[in-house]
């Protein structure tokens, strides 16, 4: 596969009446890239995903997914290669888990013989598969939702708040699946407001606020941009803890000085600004502008 971007969003705005849901957003994503989109409710994350799925058409700008306009009539074939896990996923309550996945597999032209493997992969028990979706717990529905998103081995995967309602163990296996897919060359877009959870999962983070993209880059780049101080926590031999802060660029120098010239310490702990803090920072900066 070439490294041509699978998703290209250029200058896209989406207006509902007078209100902008998305405003002048540019975004490109490459194969095998996992991008986390963060932002509070109503920041335009879901609106952007709907645009990329072709469920809505942009007021301005252009959207290209796998080289085609997702809202065009010819987009049917590209949707075969797109997986989507919606926020607040809903299924027909009177169908069983197996019937539901069969139905979606037929629509996607995926082989239904792979469904058992899919159920196992997302951790849905054979007993649960035979039950009606109406009796499912939130976690089970979410697993079924993930299973349908993985149908047919998608090249692009949109996951909107995928881990809400999942227990920590399942959350881990969920991110494992996402990592496997990414390593296999799938473009993954993860939307969440559980920021701490995304650390270490995403190659890149996009921060959205009020429909605008406020920041875009790797965690390290964002750290550099945010210029948030790094906290260094020293544990003294007598058990006291001293905390000091320094700029990210001075971190190494500071630690070296403490080790060589400073007093004897039993432990050094370096606390990088978390994604939560950086997110708060970008929102503050946006508000100040």
């Amino acid at each position: 596969m070439t490294d041509a971007p699978t998703i290209r969003v250029e200058g896209v705005s989406k207006q509902y009446g007078d209100a902008f849901a998305v405003r002048e957003v540019d975004l490109t994503m490459a194969p095998g890239e996992c991008v986390a989109m963060v932002g509070h409710n109503g920041a335009g994350k879901s609106s952007l995903i709907k645009l990329m799925l072709g469920l809505t058409t942009p007021t301005a700008g252009s959207v290209r997914v796998l080289g085609a306009d997702p809202a065009s009539a010819a987009a049917s074939h590209i949707r075969r290669q797109v997986g989507f896990l919606p926020e607040n996923v809903a299924f027909h309550p009177s169908m069983t888990g197996r019937e539901t996945l069969d139905f979606y597999a037929r629509l996607k032209g995926a082989n239904r013989r792979d469904n058992d493997a899919l159920f196992e992969r997302v951790g849905l028990e054979p007993a649960a598969v035979k039950r009606r979706v109406g009796t499912y717990s939130k976690g089970m529905r979410q697993r079924l939702a993930l299973a349908q998103a993985l149908l047919g081995g998608p090249l692009v995967l949109f996951l909107d708040e995928p881990t809400t309602g999942l227990d920590p163990a399942l959350r881990q296996s969920f991110y494992e699946i996402v990592r496997d897919l990414r390593d296999a060359g799938t473009t993954v877009l993860l939307c969440s407001h559980a920021l701490t959870e995304l650390e270490g999962q995403a190659d890149r983070v996009v921060v959205m606020n009020r429909g605008r993209k406020v920041a875009d880059g790797t965690l390290a780049t964002l750290r550099g941009l945010a210029q948030l101080p790094v906290r260094i926590r020293l544990t003294m031999p007598d058990g006291n803890v001293v905390e000091m802060t320094c700029a990210n660029d001075d971190k190494v120098e500071t630690v070296r000085r403490i080790a060589c010239e400073g007093p004897a310490v039993t432990d050094i702990e370096i606390v990088q600004p978390s994604l939560d803090e950086m997110y708060a920072h970008f929102l503050r900066r946006e508000a100040a502008e």
Binding site: L55, M95, L107, G109
Partner: protein, 276 residues
């Protein structure tokens, strides 16, 4: 084509699961059987066959009942799925919007067709087991009644779909469905009657009246069943009207079919532009 069938099949299975199919079929069969037994009673001295009696009473009942069932089944079809969030997921699949709408419509219209054919067919079987010999002409009229009933059901299903696509709120769609039923089934004829009386035959001639009747699928259905066959119209007391009516049976059927196609085409056009 395949996608259409997949979606239609899902809709039918939904109908089976939530007992819509069973309930509708039983209701239709119960009413049809009751009417056919009642209809069998006064024959002999009156000189009309039991089938004709059944056709007249059953088609009059169909006009009230079938549109109601069709609208109840269909008003939620689009707006409900958007509301619950299942539409978003469905449209992210490799399906065209017209396939979604048409597939669902085929499923719902299929349920109505099934219930009508089976329910009214049961009455036909009951009639054929009676003592009176029934002429082939009467059977043709009975079959035409069942067929046009299916068309009438499909027409109101299509209008339900249009209502469902038109609005963003389930309550509003339900309101429109009730209004459509009230308007076409009850108020239209009353209004027409009032107009005829008030006008006193000055400007409203037979031609114009024909057109006004065709502008309502329920009246088109009535016209088709009560004037289409001589024996039936004699009994229904519409023989005079039948002689006046310049609209032939095939045209009436075509108009009914038009009442299926036009709302559906409009719904598809609206749905294709809808921002979900």
């Amino acid at each position: 084509m395949n996608t259409l069938l997949i979606i239609a099949a899902k809709e039918v299975r939904d109908g089976l699961r939530n007992r819509w199919v069973v309930a509708t079929t039983l209701l239709m069969a119960a009413l049809a059987l009751t009417l056919s037994f009642l209809g069998a009673a006064p024959t002999g001295t009156v000189g009309v066959g039991p089938v004709e009696v059944t056709i007249v009473s059953l088609s009059s009942l169909t006009i009230f009942l079938l549109p109601l069932i069709a609208l109840l089944l269909s008003f939620d079809a689009v707006v409900g799925e958007i509301d619950r969030g299942t539409m978003t997921l469905l449209l992210s699949y490799p399906v065209a919007r017209w396939q979604v709408l048409l597939g669902k419509f085929l499923g719902h219209a299929g349920i109505i067709a099934f219930a009508t054919v089976l329910g009214y067919g049961a009455a036909g079987v009951a009639l054929s087991m009676g003592e009176v010999e029934i002429e082939p002409e009467s059977w043709r009229a009975f079959a035409a009644m069942i067929g046009s009933s299916v068309l009438l059901g499909a027409a109101f299903t299509a209008m339900g779909y249009l209502a469902s696509t038109l609005v963003r709120d389930r309550g509003t769609a339900a309101g429109i469905a009730v209004a459509v039923w009230l308007g076409f089934v009850l108020l239209y004829d009353m209004g027409l009657l009032g107009l005829l009386v008030a006008d006193g035959g000055k400007t409203l001639n037979a031609d114009l009246l024909n057109w006004l009747l065709l502008a309502n699928p329920a009246d088109t259905y009535r016209l088709f069943n009560l004037t289409g066959f001589k024996n039936v119209s004699l009994f229904a007391g519409t023989a005079g009207l039948a002689a006046q009516a310049q609209v032939s049976a095939p045209v009436l059927l075509a108009v009914l079919a038009g009442w299926v196609v036009a709302p559906l085409a409009l719904a598809v056009a609206l749905f294709s532009r809808k921002q979900i």
